[in-house]
Symmetry: C2
Subunit: 233 residues, 2 copies
């Protein structure tokens, strides 16, 4: 075993019904487990950077990352988030391109690195795995296409309401209906594709309309139906 520290074993991820790895044979899983290198990343750390070469992919064990592209004059556009059992960076290895996004930690994370040739081997040797991976890519592609349509046709107000609902789906609410992901106003703006000030103004409108409650970065969702209506979802 390479990782002598108490780093996670792949079995722990499988136990969570891992979307792509659960189809591996015990032997294949062993190989991955042996080859992988785990690391702890603190908030703000960059796992990989847009435009750089990456030779493997990453499997998130815990924590949350944002994946973003840097547009003109350095403005971030957040493409998606990754949390436990998500894999990131696999796109670049498959198409042997440079990373097209930057992955930055927004909640302290434990992440395993798996060399790229493992991925190639698995795709060739395990059709079920290949299928799952392909389905994952297709799902992401479908979501991306949806978002293109939204961003092109909906107003900032509609999009912000929609993003709040999507974040709720992906990160859930706690027992007090508080969104279980903490983002700055600027980060919210970088998802929605707008200015920070606009997000601030719209959030307080939503608050006034009793759709949400705000205390710092905690967002409490009060009226899901109301948000859905605004998002025309």
């Amino acid at each position: 075993m390479k990782n002598i520290q108490n780093f996670p074993s792949c079995e722990e991820c499988i136990a969570k019904d891992h979307p792509v790895f659960k189809d591996l044979t015990p032997e294949q899983l062993d190989n991955v487990n042996y080859d992988k290198a785990c690391n702890i990343y603190k908030r703000g750390m960059v796992v990989f950077q847009e435009g750089h070469r990456i030779n493997g992919f990453y499997c998130v064990f815990s924590g949350i990352l944002k994946l973003y592209k840097t547009g003109i004059d350095g403005k971030e556009q957040i493409i998606r988030f990754a949390k436990d059992t998500d894999i990131i960076g696999y796109r670049s290895i498959l198409s042997s391109e440079l990373a097209c996004t930057t992955a930055k930690v927004i909640e302290d994370a434990t992440i395993c690195y798996i060399p790229g040739d493992q991925l190639h081997t698995l795709v060739t040797e395990n059709p079920a795995f290949a299928m799952k991976l392909m389905q994952l890519t297709c799902k992401e592609l479908g979501e991306a296409n949806n978002y293109i349509t939204d961003i092109a046709q909906k107003t900032v107000r509609e999009r912000l309401a929609e993003i709040l609902l999507l974040l709720k789906e992906r990160f859930d609410l706690d027992e007090n209906q508080v969104l279980q992901i903490s983002l700055t106003r600027e980060e919210l703006a970088n998802i929605v594709g707008t200015a920070t000030e606009s997000v601030i103004r719209l959030l307080s409108e939503f608050k006034q309309d009793r759709l949400i409650e705000l205390q710092g970065r905690k967002i409490k969702i009060l009226n899901i139906a109301g948000l859905k209506k605004i998002a025309s979802f």
Copy 2:
């Protein structure tokens, strides 16, 4: 042979260095060739519709289609185009979801339909094919992510210039520098994500600035560097 008419054989597509089919064994290709059903589609015809179930995928032999999603109040958002050797609809079979876009012909097309189980068989039996298909999906995903960033951050003017350049890459220019795809102003607007009037105004601005020339739907590209500058490409 099922198709008694003079419909294209798969070999003709292979001859064009088909992006995913070229990795098939002769036997596999034979199977596809036998199972496929070809059809001629006229401009305006719909190959498949958003929200409908499709049980196979389509391989474009000739012609051009637009793939679009229908947003709120029926406004089209064109996601991509398909031309010869492109395959469409494969996403829905892989993830066994309903079609998430509508495919409509904009230039008379010959299109082959291949049943979905063929795709499953090929992915499982031919790792090289699986790999190619995955790379194709990844490429599309990368482009989608780029477009999200653009549409979220760039002005309509910048995006229109960029789209003209992208169309030039994809459909080439003829000997007179005329773009080899003919779109209505509305269709252009539905790619860029703006109003038809805005496209009209901006196109005539571009014309005034000697970047392009217009004669009906024919767009002649005069100054590529200039367009690149506007698109901040």
